[in-house]
C-alpha cells in the first residue's frame, strides 16, 4: 500500500467534498460577499477564485489530501467546481 492510499483512508472519501466546499466557501467566496455555492457552480465564472486563488487552492489540496498536482493538471476542467475538484483529488489519491 502506498503512503497516499493510507492517507486517503484516514480522510474518508465522503469527507473530501465537504472539506473542499468549506475551504472554497471560507477562503474565497465569503470574503467576496458570496455566502452559498453549489457543488456544480463554475467558480471562475462568478469571480469566486482569481488567478492567485487558483494556486492557493492547489497548495491547500496538496497539503490537506497529500496529493501532488502538476502544473499541467491545473486546468479549468480539473478545478472548475467543487465537484470537479473532488474528482481530481480522488483520482490523484488512487494513483
Amino acid at each position: 500500500m502506498s503512503k497516499h492510499d493510507g492517507e486517503m483512508k484516514m480522510i474518508e472519501q465522503a469527507e473530501v467534498k465537504g472539506r473542499i466546499r468549506e475551504y472554497v466557501l471560507e477562503e474565497f467566496a465569503k470574503t467576496k460577499g458570496i455566502n452559498h455555492i453549489t457543488d456544480q457552480e463554475i467558480l471562475t465564472k462568478n469571480g469566486v477564485i482569481d488567478s492567485m486563488g487558483i494556486f492557493r487552492l492547489v497548495s491547500f489540496l496538496e497539503e490537506t489530501f497529500n496529493v501532488r498536482i502538476g502544473d499541467e493538471e491545473i486546468t479549468h476542467d480539473n478545478l472548475e467546481s467543487v465537484d470537479a475538484i473532488e474528482r481530481l483529488v480522488i483520482a490523484k489519491s488512487k494513483k
Binding site: K30, T31, K32, G33, I34, N35, T44, K45, N46, G47, I49, D50, S51, M52, I54, F55, D71, E72, I74, T75, H76, L79, E80
Partner: protein, 522 residues
Amino acid sequence: MAYILQQLLTKSAKAYPDKPAVWARGRSISYRELDERSNQLAHLLRQSGVEKGDRVGLFFPKCVESIVSMLGVLKAGGVYVPLDPQAPADRIGYIIGNCGIQVLITNEERRAALPPETVSTLECCILTEGEGNRSDLVAWSQLSEFLASEAPKVTMVETDLAYILYTSGSTGRPKGVMLTHQNALTFVEWCAEEFQVRSEDRLSNHAPLHFDLSVFDVYNTLAAGATVYLITEDLALFPTSLASFIESQGITIWYSVPSALMLLLLYGRVTSEKLRSLRVILFAGEVFPMKYLRQLAEVSTASDLYNLYGPTETNVCTYYKVERERLAEFNTLPIGIACANTECFSVTPDGRLAKPGEPGELYVRGPSVTNGYWADPEKTKKMVVPNHFEEHFEEKMYRTGDIVTVGDDGNYYFQGRRDSQIKSRGYRIELGEIESALLSHSDVREAAVLAIPDELIGNRIRAVVVPHVPGSLGVLQLQQYCASRVPKYMIPEIIDLCDELPKTSTGKIDRVKLATEAAALP
C-alpha cells in the same frame, strides 16, 4: 481613411469577408457575419429607441456577441458602455443611472442580478442568452428579422463619443471617462504603424472589455483584417492551458498586464518553442518587475517587447521598445517616449517644464486625450486643464497625476503618484473609493486603506478600521459589506480593527506611520 471606428469593420468586411474576425469560447465569426450581425443589431437598437449619442450598456461575460454589440451600438450612432460582469449590482446600478443607460445588452442571469430599481429604469434589455419576445425584452435570435446588408444612416463625425469606460473614483463612486472615435482612432493608427499589424496576425484579447487595453486588441484587429482571440476565464486563470493556447492558435501579438505574463512565466511551463509564434508582446497597466521582465526577454526570443504607458484618459501616451541589451542595467523600466500625434510634458509644481532628471507631473495633449468625465464637470476641470504653455489660443491638456523624470537617454521614467491611486493586477484603484465604501457602514467611525507593495500583483490592499463600538464589527462582515459596493479586486485582503488611527499634529490620519507599520507586519 476611417474617421469613425465602425468604418474599420466595413472596410475589412469587404476585403476579407470569409476570414474569421473574432474567436471566443471555441466559436468564431467571420468578417461578413460580424458586419451583418452588427448592422442588424444597430437596426434593432434604433427600433428600441436608441438615438445618436445615447448610451447603451454591455453587461455580460466576454464572448463573440460582445464585439457584435460594440459595433452594433456604434453603427446605431450610440455610445457603448462596457460594464464589468462581475461587479456588484450596486455599482452597476450606479453607472447605469449615472450615464443614463436606457437600453442594456445583457443575459438573463446578469439581468436578474441587477437591483429592481435599476431594471425599472431600463426601456429595453436585449438578451444574448435567454428568452424574450416583448418590446422591452428582446432575444438575440430576433436580430435575424432586421436588415443585414447595411447599417442605419446616422450622421456622425470623429469627435462624437464612441464609448465610456468607468474607472475607480477617489470620492467613492466610479467615474466615466468619455472617449471619442477620434481618441480611439488616433491610438489605433499609431499602433497599426508601430507594430505593423497585418491581416495574417492573430491578436490576443486578455484584458476585460471595460479595460482600455482591449481597444487595441479589438480595433487594431478590425483595422488590419486580422483575427482577435478573446481570452476568457477558463483560459486566463490557468497558465499551462493559456501557454498551450498561445502555441496551438499561433497567437502573433499579445497584450496584457504584466501580472498575466508573470503567471505564465511562473506556472505556464513556457519555452521559446511554445512562444515562437509571438512576434510582438505588449504590456501596460502596471510596473513590470525587472526580474520577471528579464525572464520574459530570455524566453520570448522571437518577440519584440514593448512597455506601453497611459491612463484610460489618453489610452496610451508613451511607449518603450525594450532594448534587450540594456535590461541588465535597469532598476526600473522606462515608460519611454510619446506616441505619434501625442505630446507629453513633465511639469513642476510651480507650473514650468521640468529639467532633465527633475521630477514633474506628466501632462498630455493631442487628439487621443479625453474631453473629460461623464456628467462630472468639476472633476473634468481638475484633470483636463488649459494648456498654459500655449499663449495664443485655448487648448486643453490632461494631467495624469503620475510623477516622472526624463532620463539621460531621453526616456520618461515613472516615479510614483501624486495622489492615492494605486495599481493592483493592473487595475486602477483609488484608495479613497474603498475608504468611502468602508465609511458608509453605519458602525464604522474611521477607516484608512493602504497599499502594500507586492512583487507579483503590484499591490495588496490592507484596511485599518475603527468601529464606533469596539468589538462590534468583524473582518468578514466588513469584507462582505465592501463586496456589495466595490469590485472584487478592490476588497481589502486584510482588515485590521483597532481603537484609533495614528494622527499627525494637525489631526489628520498619519498615513506615513500607518504604511510603515503595515509594511512591518506579516
